[in-house]
Symmetry: C2
Subunit: 181 residues, 2 copies
């Protein structure tokens, strides 16, 4: 007589995402996840091959959530701002996806195919087909680097971080606009 399922992949991933924000990546142990979904650790292996696969599922869910937030009409500034907003709501998930520790899964596309598409479209208008990808990478790199430094307390020389964000965003967009061909 088969027992009814006592949990699900979804519940497991959700528990892992909560633990990630509450206790960091190191807090996402199979035991902690199991306890949260009301099961013993060995049972998790019926739904998920390993801890590292579970972390990968968390990263993919994060990318999915990020993609949903992107408005189809968003400007470059709006894209960067929404990435930064997200980073403040889910800092641990953001870092897992954007600057993963070696061994963690690689994030697909610049930051999710949807945002990536929109960004490429915008940079194409700005700098032309020939340099669209390079321009998109410049913006993504700046935003990811900035946010990562912000989350890690890398801005410890004083000054207003908000100003630095606005400064960087406007200057970079302006720079891309000044094309010589």
């Amino acid at each position: 007589m088969p027992t009814p399922d006592r949990t699900s992949v979804d519940a497991i991933v959700t528990a892992a995402r909560e633990l990630l924000e509450e206790d960091g990546l190191a807090g996402v142990t199979m035991q902690a996840v199991a306890e949260r979904v009301g099961v013993r650790a060995p049972s998790l292996y019926k739904r998920v091959e390993s801890r590292s696969r579970l972390i990968q599922l968390v990263a993919e869910a994060t990318l999915g959530e990020l993609a949903v937030r992107v408005e189809p009409e968003a400007s470059i500034l709006a894209l960067a701002n929404s990435l930064r907003t997200f980073s403040k709501e889910r800092p641990a998930a953001f870092q897992l996806v954007m600057t993963p520790p070696p061994g963690a899964p690689v994030a697909r596309a610049e930051f999710g195919a949807r945002a990536s598409d929109r960004l490429l479209q915008l940079t194409r208008d700005l700098v032309g087909e020939r340099h669209a990808l390079e321009a998109a990478r410049t913006i993504t790199a700046w935003a990811a680097g900035f946010i990562s430094m912000e989350l890690n307390g890398g801005f410890n020389l004083g000054g207003d971080v908000e100003d630095a964000w606005a400064f960087g965003a406007t200057r970079i967009v302006a720079a891309l606009g000044n094309v010589d061909e």
Copy 2:
């Protein structure tokens, strides 16, 4: 009769740095470090309070090495390039310092006081005192973000990564030069 010392903090940190590059942060276990310096794990605690303190020492040694490489006459481009060169020699150490996993020590200053000073001097010339810090942060964020994406395989849309680096570097420097005040 006191026994002669069989190891030292220096040897321990060196072993940890080697293991970091060879096996990643997870490979830096007290047992692996101990074995490499020819001692048992508990003995390490005579010289180093804990594993996380050891990781912190590794991060500080990395920052020190980075500082030594900075030429006093380096240009902005040279600074960015030397950071990227370093990231290819010691990718794991670079990531530990620039985009640390939560729990790891915070890197002091933008990227080592020395490079930070030189960069601020250059941006002061470029954009003036008022925006020097913001400009330095823009460049640091872009370089750190770019390199981190490069190391993590984040550039998976094709295109030439070398071109994207050169494109970003020249455009950003140019953008900062076009000041309106």
